[in-house]
Symmetry: C2
Subunit: 334 residues, 2 copies
Amino acid sequence: MTNQRVLLASRPVGMPTESDFRIVSGDLETMAAGDVLVQVLYLSVDPYMRGRMSDAKSYAEPVPVGGLMVGGTVGRVFRSNSPQFKEGDIVEGYLGWQSLALASAKNLRLVDPSIAPISTALGILGMPGLTAYFGLLDICKPKAGETVVVSGAAGAVGSYAGQIAKILGCKVVGIAGSDDKVKLLTDEFGFDAAYNYKTVTNHYAKLKSLCPNGIDCYFDNVGGAITDAVLGWMNTFARIAICGQISQYNNTQLELAPRPFTQILVKQARVEGFIVTRYFERFEEGRAQMAQWLKEGKLRYRETIVEGIENAPKAFISMLQGGNTGKMLVKVSD
Amino acid sequence: MTNQRVLLASRPVGMPTESDFRIVSGDLETMAAGDVLVQVLYLSVDPYMRGRMSDAKSYAEPVPVGGLMVGGTVGRVFRSNSPQFKEGDIVEGYLGWQSLALASAKNLRLVDPSIAPISTALGILGMPGLTAYFGLLDICKPKAGETVVVSGAAGAVGSYAGQIAKILGCKVVGIAGSDDKVKLLTDEFGFDAAYNYKTVTNHYAKLKSLCPNGIDCYFDNVGGAITDAVLGWMNTFARIAICGQISQYNNTQLELAPRPFTQILVKQARVEGFIVTRYFERFEEGRAQMAQWLKEGKLRYRETIVEGIENAPKAFISMLQGGNTGKMLVKVSD
């Protein structure tokens, strides 16, 4: 059986290009006991992968040049040497950018297709959903009536985080990169207000007008000038969850800005970075609550789906440039 | 009776000068029921007062131009219209830069001179001691064996914070502004290592050599390039208490530096600013523990005492420039 795989061809400088990837075909290794052969149906492309393409020290090992691109997948069990899974089961696993994968049963999770479309196992009921859930509830800890600002609000994590804040009774303001996304946030996702950062030059003035009571919580996916402005308008005891800094990932040199520490001191603010894996022990709690809210119609989601594994690099680059609305996915097989 | 008072004459631009203050003599108002007349013995000068001299928005109202400089004092009750205090009692209160003060009994706290010299009510058993206690225990939460870095380590708060971290079983590294201070930290206060920031250009390399296991906690009184370097060498789940940013208070324009948020994200660090008043309900707990440690010989302290209220501006400016070792005090009366 032939497997299509997307490898890292070279470490990108700045924004990745398609030439930084290489698509190869090849045979699979032989299955061992406990192995499961998975036909990949959906592949997730996420901002954190930009970090894995770089060899700068980070919280996880970089992908080696020539190595398989890492990432979450949902697939169908094609053959199983494990009693845990049977042919036809839908599974989620961190199997990388490939069309077929041999995986240990212990690294796969059974997906129940009766709860929601299986693609949600990579979105609202998967890692991005858990990121929004724990980042908002555990780091921001918003109280009803507080003002919550979300950057990257029309992306997967941002759109979930803002909706969870609404469920908690907060006033929610989103920042996104197009007028259509802004409309989606207010008309479909129930945000109280939103604005298009590409058409605003003075973020501070804009935030002041949309958040007349100041900012209590900030769920940050973006960083840069937007985050600088939020810090200038935060309330005493503000809580800031640093979930992503997508505006900075492709910088070839560090941007300079006024240091935030005096503002953090004077406002007694708490700024905390987090990676969702730290909540591993609580994933089932998070997934159950997200599924419940989804069932109750309290959460909505969007997906941007690109067809064909050969288009995964294009999808990834587009996502880094804000080309997605909601979760960006690559459909690998029917 | 004549009262000497130090007023704010003008808002300083950059480092304050003596001409920003004005010393006046005048009569006291008439005592009302419940009032206590206090003869001030010691006056505290602290970094936070620089903020009060400015009209930039902060957590407390600025001192008006022409108004009395604010600050903590220890004094002797000269006359009392309150059943709570009697003549000769030693009291602590936020009475400002003056030699005599009328205060409401409810704003005074009785000081027990049998525990420690009364000047400690403004230092290790006062606001700076409580700042070190709560900032370290409640914000940094260091565990035995972890590495704790303290900036401004030979100042009042820094010297206490480092010693508390030693009591907790941490490895403690201090940063201070002279070779004598560095010697004091290691030889008298039990720090494991210390360095003079004025003779080091590469803070990152220095911290790396003194903290081979990385930095778990940072108690920051200083900010600027030192803090930038600490963030580059912190461990996963590092905790940073922003207590002061004295290197920045006299800047006439904001310094630019690389934004710290990507480091905070990747290291899942928590950066929190705090003002000790938020722990008001727990002050007695903190004071009792600090007094206990002091009695047991586990905490030591130094004071730099300037004589005469007319020298209070000079003492304050000297403290901003690092002229103090330990707590800076002005002795107003015997």
